[in-house]
Symmetry: C2
Subunit: 341 residues, 2 copies
């Protein structure tokens, strides 16, 4: 059966590179949301915990519960909380979310610094802080997401300046209103790598920890990142087929010479994007040509090997399917077996 | 939190249409593989069982175990078996698979009738049957998959003729070798709908049961099929934004007028294909314009509604993303809540 192998050495290598860049292991928070970007949240959490990571970020409470025993601080980015676990910090995007929170809830406040997507607008911070105080809620962190980390231009720095102003504002209010200064974080993978002097208490690294960076410009140390996941498929059967034979749905592939053709047990139903014959040629990581159209549960390839490595670098598939490595990875079905190697 | 609503009336409507067309409820087998084409295998299995379905088809043993208590016959299309449950029938694609099977195993034999993907080649049937007899394995079924169901032209009929010849051959060997004639099936959704006189013991319907058909030609009764799944997203927050404001990663959207913009809690990490700004405009089922780029966990839309219906017909998204409804559906993350309505 198909399997995703997770290379523990590569994951460690990536965390080492990031820790060295930011100058500290303690300031490194990792993003485990969306099933650890498709890698498998329980497996990656285990590796992150072994490495010594204390702060992680997950999509919702369902994910948090799976790894609750492993980290000091688990920030839940979306949804609400039914549990009052002491290491769960709910993200607040809007003041109305505070209405139903019990006293002593632990929250992190998301601030909109220019992506205009989620979070509190800077001009509303004072009133939100007052509400937090009134409701005796504990403000554990304040953070933002810079949507321009990958891009050349001034937008990235402009957004960071807004966050710096917010930090000063909140420190001022902390003193004035009498609450503990929260932790601050704003940098994702590209933001972390492009910043030489990190003033935040924490960085929040997802993509780079899995071995990728998608900046429009070159960052030399990023070359040392190693993809963590490799997708393997096992052979279902092999046929020897004559030149001219049609293969797959609607007979889209027609063989140009006599060939051994095998099917392998991964298809678009497993989250491997569907090859319909209109994309450029795709060769598996070990060099076998995939023959469109792929099916829901399998694909055909010019190979007789029992097990093949479909990919060990998601950027190749991302290019073929005109998307980003994130989508190739998060798409991998949670039902595929994950194995740490 | 996001949710997939499964309309039990639509599912029943679709099974009624198919049963009426084939003239029998008993001959209707349904395909539940790949998490019931992304709908949720446990939920759809419940509906299928209530309807009276006896035979179903799943991807692997993991799926079979989830619904083992509900059906008389569960055919496992790929992989191997660790359990010897009496209602599990393992699909055999190659004679070497028989080597490790224990006596009295229940199998279905997959025959390659021209798709040249999976299954035994017709010329090898006799030797495979002999091996089955020697090993005292029970041949419960023989089936094929016609890869030309959607297409105009003679390929579909030519493949069906091959299957008819195979049926005759196997009936002859059953008498000669002294085993019970197995059940025969070869038609998927499009094959079933385009056939007026079904000679098989069973049809194997997936896509149509979920409300879709993708034939290149019109089949009048197919118009009565109703999509079963609707995807809903809940609001995270709303911002009032001025004309010219940039939204999302790299500020790809720039507002053409002052607008209320909300984010909703579904992204490509949930299996909703990623809008990057290069596709044609997408309006949610209730008419709200989605603003690229979508994120891993959310998208922005010109709406203030608390909950919106992202889609209730996967063909619209399939067109935008140049794929088939199957891929849109199977892509939906298993972590999204499913609710039968």
């Amino acid at each position: 059966m198909s399997e995703i192998l997770l290379c523990s050495q590569s994951y460690k290598n990536n965390l080492d590179i990031i820790s060295t860049h930011i100058g500290s292991k303690e300031k490194l928070g990792v993003v485990l949301k969306d099933n650890a970007y498709g890698h498998g949240i329980e497996e990656i959490a285990k590796l992150a915990s072994t490495y010594g990571i204390k702060s992680v970020f997950v999509k919702n409470e369902l994910e948090a519960k799976k790894i609750a025993h492993l980290f000091e601080h688990i920030t839940i980015l979306y949804g609400s909380l039914s549990s009052n676990a002491k290491n769960f910090h709910l993200t607040i995007h809007t003041d109305t979310q505070l209405d139903n929170l019990p006293q002593n809830s632990l929250i992190e406040l998301k601030i909109n610094i220019g992506m205009n997507r989620n979070g509190i607008n800077p001009e509303n911070i004072e009133s939100v802080l007052q509400k937090i105080m009134q409701k005796k809620i504990h403000l554990f962190g304040v953070f933002a997401h810079n949507g321009y980390g990958d891009d050349i231009g001034e937008d990235f720095e402009n957004c960071q300046k807004i966050f710096e102003e917010i930090k000063e504002k909140i420190k001022y209010f902390a003193q004035k209103m009498g609450f503990q200064t929260p932790r601050f974080h704003s940098l994702n993978s590209s933001g972390t790598f492009r910043s030489q002097n990190i003033q935040d208490d924490l960085v929040r690294v997802g993509l780079a920890s899995y071995g990728y960076l998608t900046t429009d410009f070159k960052i030399p140390i990023a070359k040392k990142l190693k993809p963590v996941a490799s997708l393997y498929a096992d052979k279902i059967c092999t046929h020897f087929l004559k030149k001219g034979t049609k293969i797959g749905y609607s007979g889209v592939t027609q063989l140009q010479e006599d060939s051994f053709v095998s099917t392998y047990d991964i298809g678009y139903g497993d989250g491997l994007f569907r090859f319909n014959g209109n994309q450029e040629a795709f060769f598996t990581a070990d060099g076998y040509l995939l023959l469109p159209r792929s099916s829901m549960d399998c694909f055909s390839a010019l190979s007789t090997k029992d097990r093949i490595c479909v990919f060990n670098d998601a950027t190749i598939l991302a290019k073929i399917f005109n998307t980003i490595p994130y989508e190739i990875l998060t798409n991998l079905s949670s039902f595929i077996k994950r194995t740490i190697v």
